[in-house]
Amino acid sequence: MILLFDNDMSNLSFCRAENSRFHSETRAFSTDCCDDIVKNIGDTEKIEAVGYLLRHSTEPFEKQVVSLSPQLLGSLRQNTGFFPEYSDVTFKIIDCCMGKMPKAAHVLIYDTAFFNRLPPEAGTYAVPYELSKKGIRRYGGFGLFHSWAVENVLASAKSPLSKIISVYIGDHTNVAAVKDGIAVETSMGFTPVEGILSSTGCGDIDPTIVFYLQSVGMTFSQITQLLSCQSGLTALMGRQAGLADVINAPACTAKDAALDIYSYQVKRYIGSFIAVLGGVDAVIFLADKPDLYSLVISQICRQLEFVGLKYNIPANKEDFLQDLTDNASLVKVFCLKCNKWEIMVHNIRRLLDKEK
């Protein structure tokens, strides 16, 4: 059995993975919930490995997946990054699990490692360079998903694909540009709020708005709360809403407006990244439940007809990787069904096999 943790900065999710079966739960972000989780597992002897998805750290990881050693843990504590509260919870979980399951392998999965090698023009901001040197840069997000998707597509493709655009569709939709297997752009920035609007995040907005809100008396934490928890699709719908909620909502003007803005932003980012890559060989869509988003996906594909992309709805919807490419298409189109826990297990197994 493998135990998995994902502290996504607002919630803590965990999962017990055994024989391709996944039992996951989500709890509110707090510093003392780990003891309780481990207690509920019962027999910890059965746990062969514990995986931790690290969403943010300034530690310059070369690899996406690493075994946790005391040295590494020490270094991690030195480079907690920009969100100490987040790091506190993560370290509490790691300490607790390492203490209670000393025989298990402990593996760290670094979500933004995939974007470590962004070229400076994409990976930094146009701010005084002293700030960039302090680590104020674009970290991106969902690297674990994009790297997994690109790897799978490259493995199954019959011809080499140099320029790939990978689109994660869901409550935190984001786009990555990948050249020869290496990420060269991402829509997410210093935090995952930058880029395309999310279920509660505002996405790209004019920073002057922040100053405006501050000048009328809002505090930093109120503005943070507003931009990251009360905006995005939720603000447009006037109620708590993820992408699936918007799609499934009965027809109304708010729904139309929200979907218009959403698909507009996704299309614009895809186009921007085609320009960055100087063309495109393949577009990949990945989602937990791609079937839910088939309308959005086909809408985006239609907008890309001008670069020679033609797509088909696949016959077999069961495969985790579907090739949507029409015979006449100049650009490949793929759709992948992704499961976060499965991808984590896949990465952990691969590391453990290598270390054997």
Partner: protein, 407 residues
């Protein structure tokens, strides 16, 4: 009738007097510019006048735009004895209150004064020049042409900031866009040059200035998106403005590094962009020179970021329009810098952009010039800026509607 047009920059004041003929043929009879208004430095401020091909430079202390306007009006009346029949002004930001040019009366002037905070530098300056013109010519009709008007056609999917409705309404938060008069001019020049109508063209226009820069998508003779937003701070990496940035980063820097809001705003507006990355210059021309010599480590990243952001916007807008007919470059850098254009057009075959490198180097900064290869699907043009002419044409249109109404 002679139409006097004022165009305020942050430290300059351009003026042109157009003669409005019967069949709308226009001729500039006097033009000029006040330089270095309110600038403290070693060089003094001065006004330059151009008349019948000759130019005259008058060195004079200029404390503010109103004073510069007074001196220009005095020169027009007393030195040149030119009669003025109508006065037009460029107004940067309408705050969403106006979406087309209007005559100035008590009612519209009151609204214009309310627009002040939307462009805290430019709007008050324009208002002071309007006030001076009213004092000097109390009987004359005056009008304003808005920079933000051209972008009022941007659809909700592109102008909406997805924040709670109450906040959006209260503060009028939305993308407004800037450089509208320049884009309007570029669109008309482009269509004229290609001997077609603007309705037939999908244009991406790059307004690359020495200070602010932006990109606009123009389809069916109207703006459908642009890179600047609620304020001119977003979009490209400009001379000293940061352009696109994670909004959470500004909060982070203030709360962790203890920047006050005004310091933070100054950092992003005046110390970022090319100046911030390079650490030595806000001028892309300096940065290009130094890059070619390899003297400063940070010069190349600054140039790369500048080009990278422009390319991203071009690619995004082409995709939104489903293809491209014209890529147009305007304003000082856009028209005069071949290397910037060459770098932007590099690896753009995917959308049919094929730059003729030789033609690109030869582009004329005086007139509209074609710089694409013969087999390029996209026309690439350089279009010299002339905002004053667009302001004049807006005035001519206003007069026309006035005539039709009185009939």
């Amino acid at each position: 009738m002679n139409v006097l047009v004022f165009n305020c920059g942050s430290s300059s004041l351009n003026y042109k007097i157009f003669q409005l003929g019967d069949n709308k043929d226009d001729k500039v009879i006097l033009a000029g510019k006040a330089h270095r208004i309110g600038v403290i430095g070693t060089e003094s401020s001065f006004i330059e006048h151009e008349f019948e091909g000759k130019s005259q430079k008058i060195t004079v202390s200029l404390e503010n735009h109103r004073q510069a306007a007074a001196l220009i009006i005095k020169y027009i009346r007393e030195e040149k004895n030119i009669d003025i029949g109508l006065i037009g002004h460029r107004f940067v930001h309408s705050g969403g209150y106006f979406n087309k040019s209007v005559f100035i009366d008590d009612k519209s002037l009151k609204k214009l004064r309310q627009c002040r905070p939307f462009a805290p530098i430019h709007n008050p300056i324009s208002l002071s020049v309007i006030d001076e013109s009213k004092t000097a010519f109390p009987q004359l009709k005056q009008y304003v042409a808005f920079d933000s008007a051209f972008h009022s056609t941007i659809p909700p999917c592109a102008y909406t900031y997805p924040l709670p409705e109450k906040i959006v309404k209260k503060f009028r938060f939305r993308k407004y866009g800037f450089h509208g008069l320049s884009y309007l001019h570029t669109m008309h020049q482009t269509a004229e040059f290609l001997q077609t109508s603007p309705e037939q063209l999908r244009i991406v226009a790059c307004h690359l200035g020495t200070g602010g820069s932006s990109v606009a998508a123009i389809q069916n003779d109207r703006s459908i998106d642009t890179s600047m937003g609620f304020s001119p701070l977003t979009g490209l990496a400009m001379s000293t403005r940061c352009g696109d940035i994670d909004p959470m980063l500004t909060i982070y820097l203030m709360s962790v590094y203890g920047y006050r809001a005004d310091e933070m705003q100054e950092l992003l507006e005046k110390k970022s962009g090319l100046l911030g990355i390079s650490g030595f210059s806000s001028d892309i021309r300096d940065i290009i020179n130094i890059t070619s010599k390899g003297e400063k480590e940070q010069a190349e990243p600054a140039l790369n970021m500048y080009v990278h952001r422009i390319k991203k916007y071009i690619g995004g807008y082409i995709t939104i329009m489903g293809g491209l007919d014209v890529l147009a470059f305007t304003d000082d850098i856009g028209v005069s810098n071949w290397l910037v254009r060459e770098k932007i057009c590099d690896s753009m075959n995917w959308c049919g952009v094929g730059l003729d490198k030789e033609m690109n180097r030869r582009a004329d900064s005086e007139k509209t010039y074609r710089i694409n290869k013969k087999d390029s699907k996209v026309s690439i043009l350089t279009v010299p800026p002339d905002e004053e002419r667009i302001i004049f044409l807006e005035g001519a249109k206003l007069l026309q509607t006035l005539k039709e109404k009185s009939r």
